[in-house]
Amino acid sequence: MTHAVKFHPGLMLLEQYVEGSLSADVALAVSAHIDLCPHCQQLSKDITNDQAAVLAEQDVSGRDAEQEWQQMLNFITSQPTISSSASTHTDTAPQVASVSVNGRTFEIPRALARLAEKQNKWLHLGGIATAKLPTADKQHVSLLYIDKGTEVPNHTHLGLEMTLVLAGKIVDENGEYGVGDLLINSPDDTHTPRTLADEDCLCLSVLSAPLKFNKGLTRLLNPLQQFFY
């Protein structure tokens, strides 16, 4: 069952994630990937150290605001500190979170635990089901379940599509993706992802714009677009 993660976010994406400058939805996909990928865990730790060192290194001479700093310092040190006996606040996110769909239960990464708990409405269409996660961005974040032996209609993207495999396996024209693999498709990519005959798949999907379906009949399936988006 162990799967070596093969598809990672690029270094620049990781740097922006660490810096906190990615849009929240994209950052969520990166964060969930990191939960599943020891390699990127280490990498993001190193990047964090680097960025912190840059911050600590800055030359800040030349601005004198002694009084303002002193006021802030006095305010802060007049505040109570948390004591060791303070009760640990209740876990908002359970240690191990899971979602159930199509009679199956899947464990999901920590980064998604809190948000996934807030939704339990799956929309089914054929072998595919989606559940939107409650985020407020322009991008749409959802869990996507694909039953075994199912093909997602051929489509292109008007914007960025990120897909993180959370369980099972998915294949498309370009290769095979397992748990932890992060696929990023730009507007230029056309693909037909599908599952294998014997294994279903749960993904996190982040879309920055609606999908456009290319093939014959599916072009008429406008509702399908609503469904994915």
Binding site: V18, T48, A53, A56
Partner: protein, 219 residues
């Protein structure tokens, strides 16, 4: 030159070794050296040490401000971020775990998270992605239960242990009961049949000694 390397080096186990040996050989100027901020956080955590905190504050607050101005593009929000982040440093010093990274990394991640949540709140989003969802890997531990244990262990083994042993026995006894067995000052007073004021003064004395000892390793 050397100071810069020391200050910016990575803080994995290997460079920690290097760092310590470098610290022993550098004994000039008043440039901040790696190790200083971890020690300062230790003192804030142990005894809400305002002098140690002020040192941290005077170094990091202006740098966080510069970082904030770069990210927000304005002074007002930058200062709001600085205050929030530095308040967290003061309040949560006990949660700092040196085995997971150095002080500047901890402070950076606090500021990063504060800034992220400020931006999200500004756009009035409640049921939404928060910094806690995105960054977990121990940079900014919220849970105390385990970290306070490992904190004590770290504290005793890495930094303080040798100095702790060198404390006068009466002070060591009080410190052990308060900081390792987590007893209240009153409990210690009852147990040892000494006045409460004596417990407190022994703790103060012991902390002074420990502070001196830590200072010595720095110069």
């Amino acid at each position: 030159m050397l100071e810069t390397t020391v200050l910016t080096g990575h803080h994995d186990a290997l460079s920690k070794q290097k760092r310590i040996s470098q610290r022993m050989t550098i004994n000039t100027d008043n440039e901040p050296r790696t190790g200083q901020w971890e020690d300062a956080l230790t003192l804030v955590a142990l005894h809400q040490d305002k002098a140690a905190y002020a040192e941290l504050f005077r170094y990091f607050a202006p740098r966080l401000r510069a970082f904030g101005i770069k990210m927000f593009g304005n002074e007002q929000q930058a200062m709001e971020m600085v205050q929030d982040a530095m308040l967290n440093v003061w309040r949560k010093a006990r949660l700092f775990d040196a085995s997971r990274g150095c002080a500047s990394t901890w402070i950076f991640t606090i500021a990063r998270n504060v800034r992220f949540d400020m931006l999200r709140k500004k756009q009035s989003r409640k049921d939404d992605i928060s910094a806690d969802d995105l960054w977990f890997d121990g940079d900014y531990p919220e849970q105390e239960s385990n970290s306070s244990d490992s904190w004590d262990t770290m504290l005793m083994s890495e930094k303080l242990a040798p100095h702790f042993d060198a404390l006068p026995p009466a002070q060591r006894m009080v410190m052990q009961k308060v900081y390792l067995e987590e007893k209240s000052h009153q409990e210690v007073s009852d147990e040892l049949a000494i006045p409460l004021g004596t417990v407190k003064s022994r703790i103060r004395l012991a902390l002074d000694r420990l502070r001196e000892a830590l200072d010595d390793t720095r110069s």
